[in-house]
Amino acid sequence: MNENRIRYKKNQQMIIVVLLLALVTYLSSVLTDFNILHGLATLPEAFIWIFSNLVVTEESLERMPTILDKLVETILMSIAATTTATILSLFLGVMGSKSVGTSKLLGILARFIASLSRNIPVVAWALILLLSFGQNSLTGYLALFVGSVGFLTRAFIEVIDESSQSAVEALQATGATYIQIIMKAVIPECLPQIISWILFMIETNIRNATLVGILTGTGIGYTFDLYYKTLNYHGVALVTVSIVVAVILIELLSNHVRKVIL
């Protein structure tokens, strides 16, 4: 039966894919010296360790003001990086979009810039910037900014290209200028999606800020690193909890905004 043969063939393909994946998994484990059994074996122990050591004690709560201070700095840094990146990304997004872009060359340029800033990892940007900007907030801000530009530009290009373009034609026919058309027809039409991406980027950047902070010695990442290196696990726990609370609060807030505007 034909149907059976197709199913048989599909099953065969699935089996081949699974076998291939198993092979690569094996190679990867050898290469990285990863032992899944060892990993699994230590898992219960690890969780016991986490639950007995990573606890917030009263004593560690005394450090709350410092931690909050750094947390606020980190959140502000993430927001600033996102909003300023948004401005640049809107330009690049319009330039790079197929439907409202002005020229092919500029479009390629915009997408090239976005691709570079997205695919060079944030850690690389952080390390490079650290060399000359030193250990201060601006370094972390700039590293996040560069990464955000790449991500947001790609998102905005997609949003613009998927949005309805019919009003653009109508405004052209009224004699409106290019900038008027972008600002008054394209952007308003895409605004809810744009805001949604901005909120998403802020969430992502707060998590990335921790990483960048560890590397550049700024913000909450630095605080975490400090406690971590001095084996102050109660401090580590408190920092982690405060990050979790902050991220979840911001996510809830963003979801609420999204629900209204989308």
Partner: protein
């Protein structure tokens, strides 16, 4: 004239043209708040020891050296490829383990396959997991389980799972109800349905999502190497920049990462265009 009765005027007596509905209001409010917070951020930044003009000049110079004169000096090409392999390996392991675990978790998170409150619990659990940055997971496991690639893979596993469960469960929810019901009617058990209906009809889709996560995990693995001592090319990047201050080597390593990242991106774009409807984004 009837028109005047429908006009809304602003406080200064001019005619308003904004619709002033809730959506508009929330969007304006969001933009306003973000703008204010941005200004505040720049006011409160800690600018200690910053000489902005010098910093910009230096950065420009550094970038020039990095990108125009890249070279390896502390290790050779063989070692470089080996380190890249380690990073890819870490990314792959956390992706594939994540995919397997996510498959089972997603079955319990898909609303058409389980009851509502299990779905809810899984989702809340995932939201918590996502809220902890990957680097913290890795560092925490490094002390909890002893340093090594296991810590890195375990740490990276968490976000992979959070990401894939969402994608997988949505894929499962889209499986044709008719197929499931038809099988149920023949008296097939839950596992039978999963193996014979759910898995075959979503397999390519799941594979594509898994690859998309692999692309992300490559970048994460680089980051973990640099920030959490997880080894691989990320660690070499960290050493070249923070230990040897060797810009040429930083440049060469960046190029290697960039090339790989772009290759992965191109493949995932192809997969996305092929297997996903236009509306789905990563």
């Amino acid at each position: 004239m009837q028109a005047t009765t429908h006009m809304k005027r602003r406080s200064d007596g001019r005619i308003s043209i904004k619709s002033g509905n809730e959506v508009q209001l929330i969007m304006q409010l969001t933009i306003l708040i973000l703008t204010v917070l941005t200004v505040l951020a720049f006011l409160f930044f800690d600018y200690t020891g910053l000489d902005i003009q010098r910093a910009i000049q230096e950065t420009a110079y550094n970038l020039k050296v990095m990108f125009l004169e890249p070279a390896l000096s502390h290790f050779g090409w063989g070692e470089a490829i080996y380190q890249v392999g380690i990073t890819l390996g870490l990314a792959f392991l956390s992706t594939i383990l994540g995919a397997v675990l996510s498959f089972f978790l997603a079955l319990s998170a898909a609303t058409n396959l389980t009851n509502e409150w299990i779905t809810k619990i899984v989702r809340i659990f995932l939201a918590f997991i996502r809220a902890v940055p990957t680097v913290l997971w890795v560092l925490i496991f490094a002390i909890a389980a002893g340093l090594g690639s296991e810590a890195a893979v375990l740490g990276m596993l968490f976000h992979s799972i959070a990401y894939l469960v969402k994608a997988f469960s949505e894929a499962f929810e889209e499986v044709d109800k008719g197929i499931i019901e038809a099988l149920r009617a023949t008296g097939a058990g839950w596992w039978h349905i999963v193996v014979h209906a759910i898995l075959p009809s979503t397999f390519t889709y799941l594979m594509s999502w898994t690859f998309l996560r692999f692309e992300i995990n490559f970048a994460v693995a680089v980051a973990m190497g640099a920030a959490a001592g997880a080894g691989g090319i990320g660690f070499e990047l960290f050493m070249a920049s923070s230990f040897y201050f060797d810009l040429r080597e930083v440049g060469m390593i960046t190029y290697m990462i960039l090339v790989l990242a772009i290759i992965l991106e191109v493949i995932s774009t192809l997969l996305k265009n092929r297997y996903f409807p236009a509306s789905i984004k990563n």
